[in-house]
């Protein structure tokens, strides 16, 4: 990678401090950014990365500390203020107005107009260009964003950020729902921007990605800066060590498990929004991965299985019992559990407490005649908080105020707490830090060894290859092929996902 | 012109005369009596009556809409108890323009677009109440004047009649409260009176200008165990009020003659339509009912008008 240590300093943040009520999120953090560099910001879930960059973008205000941009003091009072100074950001929690169309969202806040009237034609032209720039010209301009899949929304979000000619571009986990292909495309874009002198702050939990793209890094831990430097001077292990404070032994621990009887079988299943019938059978103690590109239709399959979308054709058999109408209520009673990829829109009741969210699908252990044993539950929750390393004040904290990764952990913990036999996991590791990820992989292995069935959707091929027994590839709503994991490589998976043909 | 020609005209059109009677509201006992009177007249005269008030009680704007809608329906005549002496002028003009004559009942209307006016003298009702109050209190005391709703013309006249008489003739009677309005419902009158009695338990007399406020205040007096002790003059009647009058909880009720008002209203318009000469102004009178005279047949007929034969219930 080209690097120039003598690049001029563009931005400086000094002694930044931020409290959320009783929680200290940032404690005297220093950060600086050079012109034309890609600077990775890494750290565990809840380390304070998002908070730091939100202060930079103007979405939050620091309690204390100084910032300067191009040697002029900088303290944005609003995101608009920040953008005027050339700071633009892709937020971790997708920030789109669901009722507005793709076009409207991309242009939001920067509409071209004459005397307040929109210049429709130019706007559409620009938006089309933007979508082409991110290699997704197929996304329709007039579809309300609320109807898009999460992956597609992330693309829209990226397109929007690229629209504004910023000198500092902040990306908070931009690839968390993107496929390998789209991530690679994004990297190309980043490189191009860098050449144009744009500075980029890049937050991600995919450390290989970070190593590939970043020039320098800063590591945060518990709201403090614990290290920074040139990316080329550190190894992956050292980075992890800095982040977590300990070593992570193995990324994809394979735990021995045996494949048992047939548990879930999909027979010519087609849901309301699905485009093709799917046949699939899953056995006890089996981890099956589903791979595909954005909008490949994996989420729709899962939703149909779980009874969230109506079945038009075919059947879902659980332990060879077929039920005519599936509803989540019924599925849960059949021992199924579903983790939604849309944690903010669907996965979590944000204004409810951590404890409620975690136990919502399974109150039985704490309830007697409909009354909840709150104390008993609190104790149990504490166990989960520790096991999942959820960083939270206490079990009554609203999920809303947790960091993105910690929210994901709560959603995942709910599924584990539910003690389901069949786990439908849609992008379960989205936004989760490295150490916790490997922990989660280990659990999945353990669950399989206990005879549970896991259907694992992911856009990150290495994790599929790392933990699944079998992997199915989806292409445009169609199941292309399903094979043993050892028959797949990252290359032929990609080929199958993009072309729909297996080589 | 004679009855005969009239009959021909009706036969020609192939239907009976259709008269719209538009009260200010439909849910007070008072309007029920008017309705009964109108039905009585319609039976005697062989015409058809549509009874229809504004959908929200006492809403001027809504009453205008009702008048307009009946103009569009093409009724033959309208009997109207206008909620406002001014606001209803234009709809009445519109009716006249479309050759639909209008008779005004209960409250006045400015201008001369109507053919007859049949009403109670509300101001006189207030005067009557004031005089009775003075008599009950023996010339001095502290009283409440509890008002009905803001902007209600007929009750304001009663309140004014009461107030004017009091200030002009009875200087020894002082008003503890005189600008509190009960609002439209019984419950709001009840609460208002409860709160006022909490503040001024020393009150000697109360006057209320209509049925709903009288009943609400009565309930408050009963709850505060002041009923019968505080001299209470109300307006209009209903079974509960009559009962209270009997028990001595109410000392006097000012009464109007709504049955007659409704009857005459319809009769006037029909006579006009049939080409008779009619009087342009009829006063249906105000009366005072007390425990002593409540069994007089005349008063009894006003207190407990028997309209079971005209209305379903």
């Amino acid at each position: 990678m080209i690097q120039n240590p003598s690049l001029p300093l563009l931005l400086q943040m000094k002694n930044i401090r931020k409290n959320f009520g009783a929680t200290l999120a940032l404690d005297e953090v220093d950060f600086d950014l050079k012109k034309g560099e890609v600077h990775a910001l890494i750290g565990e879930n809840g380390a304070g990365k998002s908070t730091l960059v939100k202060i930079l973008s103007g979405a939050l205000r620091a309690d204390k500390g100084k910032m300067s941009l191009e040697n002029v003091s900088y303290s944005p009072s609003s995101p608009l203020d920040g953008r005027r100074r050339g700071v633009s950001m892709i937020y971790q929690e997708l920030n789109l107005a669901p009722h507005l169309t793709v076009e409207e969202n991309i242009m939001l806040g920067k509409e071209l107009h004459s005397w307040g009237f929109l210049r429709q034609r130019e706007i559409r032209e620009k938006v089309r260009e933007a979508l082409e720039f991110v290699h997704h010209p197929e996304i329709s301009l007039d579809i309300p964003v609320g109807k898009l899949s999460i992956g597609a929304r992330q693309v829209v979000e990226i397109a929007r950020a690229l629209m504004s000619r910023a000198s500092v571009l902040i990306m908070d986990e931009p690839t968390s729902s993107l496929s390998q292909e789209d991530s690679d495309l994004l990297f190309q874009i980043i490189r191009r921007l860098k050449e144009q002198g744009v500075s980029i702050i890049y937050i991600s939990h995919f450390l290989e990605e970070v190593q590939e793209i970043a020039d320098r890094f800063t590591v945060l831990r518990d709201g403090k800066t614990v290290g920074s430097g040139e990316m080329k001077n550190v190894s992956l292990e050292e980075l992890i060590q800095m982040m977590v404070g300990q070593k992570v032994d193995e990324m994809f621990p394979r735990i021995e498990h045996e494949v048992g009887d047939l548990l879930l079988s999909l027979d010519k299943l087609k849901g309301k929004k699905m485009h093709a019938e799917v046949n699939l059978s899953l056995h006890r103690g089996e981890v099956v991965g589903l791979a595909g590109l954005i909008g490949a239709g994996r989420t729709e399959l899962m939703r149909t299985i779980f009874g969230l979308d109506a079945v038009v054709n075919g059947s879902v058999k659980v332990a060879s019992v077929s039920t005519p109408i599936g509803s989540p209520w019924l599925r849960i009673r059949q021992g199924m559990g579903y983790l939604s990829e849309d944690r903010q829109g669907e996965g979590l009741a944000l204004s409810c407490s951590l404890a409620d969210n975690l136990t919502l699908s399974h109150f039985n252990p704490y309830s007697r005649f409909g009354f909840l044993g709150l104390k008993k539950r609190r104790e149990a929750i504490q166990g989960w908080i520790q096991r999942m390393k959820i960083k939270a004040r206490d079990s009554d904290q609203a999920v809303l105020s947790l960091s993105g990764g910690n929210q994901q952990k709560v959603a995942l913990a709910r599924l584990l707490h539910q003690e389901a036999d069949i786990l439908l996991l849609d992008e379960p590791t989205r936004g989760i830090d490295v150490a916790s990820k490997s922990q989660i992989y280990e659990w999945i292995g353990q669950l399989a060894s206990l005879g549970k069935t896991i259907l694992f959707v992911s856009s990150y091929f290495p994790e599929l290859l790392g933990i699944c027994d079998r992997i199915a590839i989806f292409h445009r709503g169609r199941l292309v092929d399903i094979r043993d994991y050892s028959d797949w490589t990252a290359q032929n998976m990609m080929a199958a996902a993009t072309t729909g043909r297996v080589v | 012109c004679g009855e005969k020609e009239d009959g021909d005209m009706q036969q020609e059109r192939g239907r009976r005369l259709l008269i719209a009677v538009i009260p200010k509201g439909t849910t007070h006992e008072f309007w029920k009596s008017i309705h009964a009177g109108a039905v009585k007249a319609s039976r005697e005269l062989g015409v058809e009556v549509i009874w229809k008030g504004p959908q929200k009680e006492d809403d001027r704007a809504q009453q205008i809409i009702v008048v307009e809608d009946f103009i569009n329906r093409g009724v033959d005549g309208i009997v109207l108890a206008p909620l406002d002496d001014r606001a209803l002028c234009r709809p009445v003009q519109d009716a006249v323009r479309e050759s639909i004559p209008v008779v005004i009942i209960d409250s006045g209307l400015q201008g001369e677009d109507y053919v007859s006016f049949v009403a109670t003298d509300n101001y006189k009702g207030g005067v009557l109440a004031a005089k009775k109050m003075e008599e009950l209190l023996g010339g001095k005391g502290k009283i409440f004047l509890i008002r009905y709703q803001e902007g209600s013309a007929s009750t304001t006249k009663r309140e004014n009649g009461f107030l004017d008489t009091l200030t002009a003739e009875f200087p020894n009677i002082s008003l503890l409260v005189q600008d509190q309005h009960t609002g439209a419902t019984t419950e709001s009158a009840f609460q208002l009176a409860e709160n006022l009695l909490g503040r001024f338990p020393e009150v000697d007399g109360i006057f209320c200008p209509n049925e709903s406020s009288t009943f609400g205040v009565l309930r408050a007096l009963q709850e505060s165990r002041l009923a019968g002790i505080v001299k209470f003059v109300g307006f209009d009647s209903s079974p509960k009020l009559v009962q209270a009058l009997q028990q001595g909880h109410i000392h006097a009720l000012v009464l109007q003659n709504p049955l007659k008002m409704g009857y005459l209203g319809v009769k006037q318009i029909v006579y006009h339509l049939r080409g008779h000469e009619i009087e342009t102004l009829i006063d249906t009178g105000v009366y005072l009912a007390t425990r002593e005279n409540m069994d007089d047949p005349d008063i009894k007929a006003l207190l407990e008008p028997d309209f079971s034969s005209y209305l379903d219930r």
Binding site: L108 | W51, D58, N72, D84
Partner: protein, 331 residues
């Protein structure tokens, strides 16, 4: 050709009839109401007359003007319970001003600006104290109504007749106008607002704020400023509605329009507005206004007792919106 790229988005081409149906669809509820009354033998000939349509149009002006502003507010995710009080206040102010000898033009201006001012105060309180609109406008409901009664001295204000009262005359004075000037003004403003919502930056921002306020802020929209404008504009509409109310009543009545806020909100919601924000349209709201107006008109003409009318109107509101919902679900 772009569509072909997406497997999931094969959009079926509509036939011409389907086009017609989908164009008519928003009018479904209204058509239903019109058909019901046209089938009633007692009123059918009278109900479908132009003169009746004219009076329904005139009767709707007040609610319609209120609904134009309310649509804006509801799209932005807010609500305005003070609308009806604001209408009453403005109508009283106009009467007061005319009575005080101010030329009618300025009196009208006073009325409209009073409405705008009340809206502005609503908007400012909502944004500066960060209170929910429900509370602020509930408070304002009482405050505006109280001030109206105060100004009017608890009575209606009689004002001398002037051209202002011609604004809502059912028989307008230059007879080539055909309908009251107020009706034309309402139509004009509805078109203006529809254009504003669809074709201006401001309109987009209003939708964005209602859809996701946090996003709007993060995208650099000055949400507070926009919201203040929304409430002020809506206030101006209430002010104008108050002028029309005065014009119709010929008096300034502080007790007018009590409870009308529910009618106004209902019209917007019937027309597809969502109280969660981000959804709504001017056309829809206007249809909502007319559904309610024709329902009232038809039932009055039928001479149904009020309670029957209440029951039927209640039922038809549910049915009309239910039909609309069914249609949406089908799509």
């Amino acid at each position: 050709m772009i569509k072909k790229n997406i497997p999931g988005l094969q959009i079926r081409e509509k036939t011409r009839i389907q086009h017609l149906i989908s164009w008519l669809a928003p009018f479904l509820g209204l058509i239903l109401v019109l058909v019901i009354f046209s089938l009633m033998p007692e009123v059918q000939d009278r109900f479908l007359r132009i003169s009746n349509f004219k009076s329904v149009a005139t009767q709707s002006v007040i609610v319609a003007l209120g609904a134009l502003g309310m649509t804006l507010i509801i799209i932005s995710g807010g609500i305005d319970l003070s609308a009806a009080s604001n209408i009453a206040l403005s109508s009283v102010i106009v009467a007061f001003a005319i009575n005080a000898g101010i030329p009618p033009v300025f009196a009208v201006l006073c009325g409209v600006l009073t409405g705008g001012f009340v809206g502005f105060v609503n908007g400012s309180l909502i944004t500066s104290l960060r209170l929910v609109p429900f509370i602020v406008t509930l408070g304002m409901l009482g405050i505006a109504r109280g001030i109206a009664k105060w100004t009017a001295g608890n009575q209606k204000i009689d004002a001398p007749l002037s051209w202002v009262n011609e604004l809502m005359a059912r028989h307008p004075s230059p007879s080539w106008l055909l309908m009251a000037p107020g009706v034309w003004l309402m139509i004009l403003l509805a078109v203006v607002m529809a254009v504003v919502l669809r074709y201006t930056v401001f309109g987009r921002h209003v939708f964005a704020i209602g859809s996701n306020e946090a996003t709007a802020r993060l995208c650099g929209i000055r949400t507070n400023r926009t919201k203040i404008i929304v409430y002020s504009v809506s206030g101006l509409f209430c002010g104008l509605s108050g002028v029309m109310q005065f014009s119709r009543l010929t008096v300034g009545d502080p007790t007018v329009a009590i409870g009308l806020e529910l009618d106004i909100i209902a019209a917007v919601v019937i027309g597809g507005g969502s109280l969660r924000g981000g959804e709504g349209s001017i056309l829809g709201s206007m249809i909502g206004v007319f559904i309610m107006a024709f329902l009232r008109n038809g039932s009055t003409m039928m001479g149904w007792p009020n309670y029957i009318q209440e029951i039927i109107i209640g039922a038809i509101i549910i049915v009309a919106v239910g039909l609309d919902q069914l249609r949406h679900r089908r799509e």
